[in-house]
Structure formats: structure tokens, C-alpha cells
């Protein structure tokens, strides 16, 4: 029997600073209805889908790396439980429609930890998986030279859990958030656990302040990394964006559904709320997992130790130590220093 999941990728347009969760949940429910009408059993929302992307502002009084002083507005963007008063309707509607969903939000734990999370909710409205963002981009303290801030490293801790997969919707499903998608390790760690579908939500400003030469390449890079991750692991990738101009900042839209071949099979064409869907054949994964990317047969884990050795300085030191063990025949001949031609 062919296994497939009918998936809706539910892109969101801007969420204003003064938009309430109730207003946003209305939009999410409207997208859930669109998904149900098209036969979706899973609708995927983006990262931080309940509020505006608040890391663009310095919202506390601290001048160092730590949050300090009045955190009233900052805290207002986090959820302390899920579901909660504002989101219960979404869970109820999901159960009524028998459509599961994946939702991103900011989590403030009872003991004061702050995480950027993604939850997977099944067709009965139950949370069956939770992921905390591993790769936190941006910066720790206010940088006044930027047109807008990207203070994720101030407002979120790095996940202590890593990447796991979940048996749900008849398949093996993983989750990642935004910057995670740029790192091949993200897909690989889940690919090694047999991931057949990876759900990725993102908020990506089109203006990358540290190197504006990357700005015109944002859409290219976005698809490049997700297509490569899908192909190299034989997995579906559902990439779901926020788009449009939110509080003066323009975000990448370009929501996509990517097959294990790396091909884009569905893509949003607006910068607003928009659902695109695809029937995702999970057995298609094996065309790659059991041939070219048969990990057991072809991978060389012993050759990859640099990847887990720590920072690059340690990696280089480890490799140099290793080199001293080589026989003269195998040793790398040191390159002579050359004049560079102009």
C-alpha cells in the first residue's frame, strides 16, 4: 500500500505588533479550513506564528548580553502553556476537522527558560511532538547600527535536546526552525533517524545587515538549502514562511513543498496568508534512501569526526595530530609558499 500524507503549507502574511492572538488564531483557523477543504490531514504554520517577530526590537533595559529590567512587553510574546486560552480554539477546530497541524511559538517555561519552539499536533488535537530551535542566529545585545535588530540570541536559549523524529501521520516526521535549515547537519541528524518529512517554519528578513550582498540571493539560498537537504536525505521538506512587510521589515515568503528528489512540487506565489498543498508519497523516499544514499552501505562516519569535534580550532589541531601518524608515503607534502600572481 502506498503511504502518503496530504500536507498543506500555510504561509502567513505580516502580523502587526498590536494584533492580538485571537486575531491571529482566526487567520490560522481560516487556513486550517482551507487545508481541510483540499483534503489535507496536516497543515504546517511558520515559526513564531502567534505574534509579530519581536526579536527585531530591544525590549528590555539591559545593556549587556542578559535580559534585565522591565520585561512586560517581551514576556507578552511568550506562551507559558499550550494550548492556552487564545489557542484552545485552534486545537478544538483541528480535532473537529481531523486535521493535524504544526505550530511555532515562543515558549517561557515555569522555571524561566525561553525557547523558540515548534509543536506537532495530531488529528485528534493532541501534541505528539515538540522541538526547540537548535541554531539561534542573530546577536546577543542591542546593535544600534542596524536598521532593525535580530536579537534571537538574547531572547532564546539554544535547545538542549537536539533533533528527533516522531512517528505520526503514518510516517516519520522531523521538525526544524528557520536558521536550522541552512545547516546540513539539521537534515542529516534527522535523516539518520529515518525522517521521511521535515517541517520547517521560518521568518527571514530580506535585508541581511551583516552582508547586504546576500540580500538579492535570499530566495535562492532559501530554496538551495532545503532542496539539498531533501535530496541528500531522501526526505520531503515542507518550508513555511512568513512574508510581506511586518512593522517595516520585509520578509521572505517563498513557501515550498519539496520532494525527496529535491524538486519543488508546490510553491506560494503571494506574500500573504496562503495555503499550498501537495500529496506527499512517503515511499518515494526509498528511491533515494535505498539507492544512491544508502547510508549503511556508502557513508563513512569515521571520516566525519571533525563535524563533532567542536570548534574549528580544535578540528584543525585534531587533524594535525592525526597527520603525524601517517607513513611518509601517505603524508601530505607541505606546499611551498608561493608568490601570488596578480
Amino acid at each position: 500500500m502506498t503511504r502518503f500524507i496530504d500536507v498543506g503549507a500555510a504561509q502567513l502574511g505580516p502580523i502587526a505588533r498590536d494584533e492580538t492572538r485571537e486575531q491571529v488564531v482566526d487567520r490560522l483557523i481560516a487556513l486550517l479550513h482551507q487545508g481541510a477543504a483540499r483534503g489535507c490531514e496536516l497543515v504546517v504554520f511558520p515559526e513564531l506564528a502567534l505574534t509579530t517577530f519581536f526579536p527585531r526590537w530591544h525590549l528590555d533595559d539591559g545593556e549587556g548580553d542578559e535580559i534585565e529590567g522591565d520585561t512586560t512587553e517581551l514576556d507578552s510574546y511568550y506562551e507559558i502553556e499550550m494550548p492556552n486560552t487564545a489557542t484552545q480554539r485552534l486545537f478544538d477546530e483541528a480535532k473537529r476537522l481531523a486535521v493535524g497541524f504544526c505550530l511555532g511559538y515562543a515558549e517561557l517555561t515555569p522555571d524561566g527558560h525561553r525557547y523558540n519552539v515548534y509543536i506537532l499536533v495530531d488529528r485528534e488535537g493532541e501534541v505528539v511532538g515538540k522541538y526547540r530551535k537548535v541554531h539561534i542566529p542573530g546577536h546577543e545585545r542591542h546593535e544600534p547600527w542596524r536598521k532593525f535588530q535580530h536579537l534571537e540570541r538574547r531572547y532564546f536559549e539554544e535547545s538542549p535536546d537536539g533533533f528527533r523524529v516522531h512517528e505520526a501521520f503514518g510516517g516519520t516526521i522531523g521538525m526544524a526552525i528557520c536558521n536550522d535549515r541552512r545547516w546540513p547537519e539539521t537534515y542529516r541528524v534527522m535523516g539518520l533517524q529515518g525522517a521521511e518529512m521535515i517541517l520547517i517554519g521560518y521568518n527571514t528578513p530580506l535585508d541581511y545587515a551583516p552582508d547586504p550582498s546576500q540580500n538579492p540571493l535570499q530566495a535562492f539560498h532559501n530554496h538551495l538549502v532545503m532542496q539539498a537537504g531533501a535530496y541528500q536525505n531522501g526526505t520531503w521538506v515542507i518550508g513555511v514562511a512568513k512574508g510581506g512587510v511586518e512593522e517595516g521589515v520585509e520578509s521572505l515568503a517563498q513557501t515550498v513543498i519539496i520532494a525527496p528528489s529535491g524538486q519543488i512540487v508546490a510553491q506560494a506565489t503571494t506574500i500573504d496568508d496562503e495555503l499550498v498543498m501537495a500529496r506527499c508519497d512517503l515511499d518515494m523516499c526509498d528511491r533515494y534512501k535505498k539507492t544512491l544514499f544508502d547510508f549503511d552501505r556508502y557513508r563513512r562516519p569515521d571520516m566525519y569526526t571533525a563535524i563533532t569535534d567542536g570548534p574549528p580550532s580544535l578540528v584543525v589541531a585534531a587533524i594535525e595530530t592525526e597527520s603525524t601518524k601517517l607513513t611518509p608515503e601517505d603524508a601530505v607534502i607541505p606546499a611551498s609558499t608561493k608568490e601570488q600572481a596578480q
Copy 2:
């Protein structure tokens, strides 16, 4: 001072089974001259550039996984020293022109080991780096159902050395061969050593027997993996092909030079001997290495242990053991088994 390398990517058309090394070296020297005329200081040739791609034939008498019986023709495709009588002219001409090169060939060591290798030769004609292929694709024994064989796993051992980089041509240069380019670990292990340019030669048949649905995607996959590897590591990638119909087998051409942005900046348009060149600004690497992909700041090596844990079965076991240490709050809620909607 801006650092750059003027690089020529020297694609080769088919090499016939009865073509001599002397004839091939004439072609390599012609490409070297083209490179010199365009100001190149480094010309990169493809994988196994001295002979036809012999793994397409079962050339010994063994029925199992091992080479047996008469190996006269098989052995004729390997080099037992480098330079040798046939290739000395190439080294001499490189020195005379002050143009370095990178060359792929089959190596038979004095103690009987067989490797698929790539060497880096500097502008004085000296070998400054040697790489043995890490990822060996294809199969170990004759498979008569195939239109042609891909017996690399019979004819080549896996490299025991791994991926290293070399200080040469004013930069930090790594090498990889053919199937290596499909694995993100290849680029990452060299990226962690500071690679600014990765040279990759390949022979890729357009007909992939284990899954012909991949055939129309060969050119897409080829560029996808090299562009992602370049971008995700902030490195130049020089991908050099054999093209055309060689002994009845059609090979992917599509030689490219790729910038650290992932952009293709030069591409061959024929399926024959053809040199394309680009001025590669090595300092461009830092636009990525020091921003989005600042490895020291943003990578999470502790989260990647699955990548070096061994085969997937071990990875899953290790992760499950880890999960038992979680608090109930953090634990993943097991997904209930669901009926799959058709």
C-alpha cells in the same frame, strides 16, 4: 591585498578504450595551454583523466566481491608512479608555463592497494597534495542486469585518510572526487579546516540504473549539491566533468565554477574538451564564513553526534537511550497509531 586564484576548469570529452595515455596527455597539454593563455595559474582536470572510465566493465575473472584471475587489462588502467613516462610531459609543461594543475587517476600502490586519486601540482610542477576518494559508489560484483557496470567498489578501496586541505596557490585548497560531492559531510569536513576552494572531478553516467527516475534530474542534482556545499561552507567549488558518449555510455558534462555565494560563475556548454575560467576572490569566502556561517559562534557540534555514531541503527539506538534520561515534561509524547486517509 585581495587574494584571488585564476582557475581553469578543464572538462574532458570521451576517452576511448583504445586511446593511449600519450594521446590523452596531448589533450591535457592543449587545455593547459588554453588556461595559460587566459591567465590561469591552476587548471583542474576531471576524475580518472588519463584513461577511459574502466569501472563500466567487469575486467577480471572473479564471481565474488574480490578481483581474481587475469588482471592484465584492469591493471593497465592504473598508475604505479606519478609522474611517469606518459605524464612527465604534462608536469614539465606545467612548470614551463608556471600553471599548476589537479589531475585524477587510478593508483596501484607497491603493496597492491587500489585507489581513485586526485593530485594537486603547483606552478613548479611539484605534487603538493594527494587525495584518495572517500565515498566509493556503485557495486562490488558483476551485475548482468545492468546495461553497463559501475564496479568502483570492486576496483577501488575506500580512502583511509579522509579529507584534508592544502596551503597552495595562496589559499586553502581541498579536493574531492565524484560521488563525494553528493555528501554534505565532504564539504563540511574541509570547511571546518578553512577550505576556500574545493576541487571536484567527476564521471557521472546519465543513466542511473538503480532508479531511472533520477536520470532527468542528473544535471539538477549535480549543481544542487555543489552549490549547497559552496554556500554552506563559504568556499569556492570547482566541479570538472567528463562529458559526451564514451564507449556507448553518456556522461554528464556541466562543468562549473561556483562562488561561495552558491552562484555559478562559469559553466561549460559543450560535452567535449572545454576550458572555462574564473577569477576566484578568496576573500569573498569571509562574507559567509564570518557572518551567517560563523562556525565558532553558531554551530552546535554536541547536537550532531549522530553523524559520527556509525550506521543508522546505532544512531537510533543511541537517541532512544538518550530519551530515557528526559524529564516527563520534556519527553516526546508517543504518537497514537492512526488510520491513513486515502
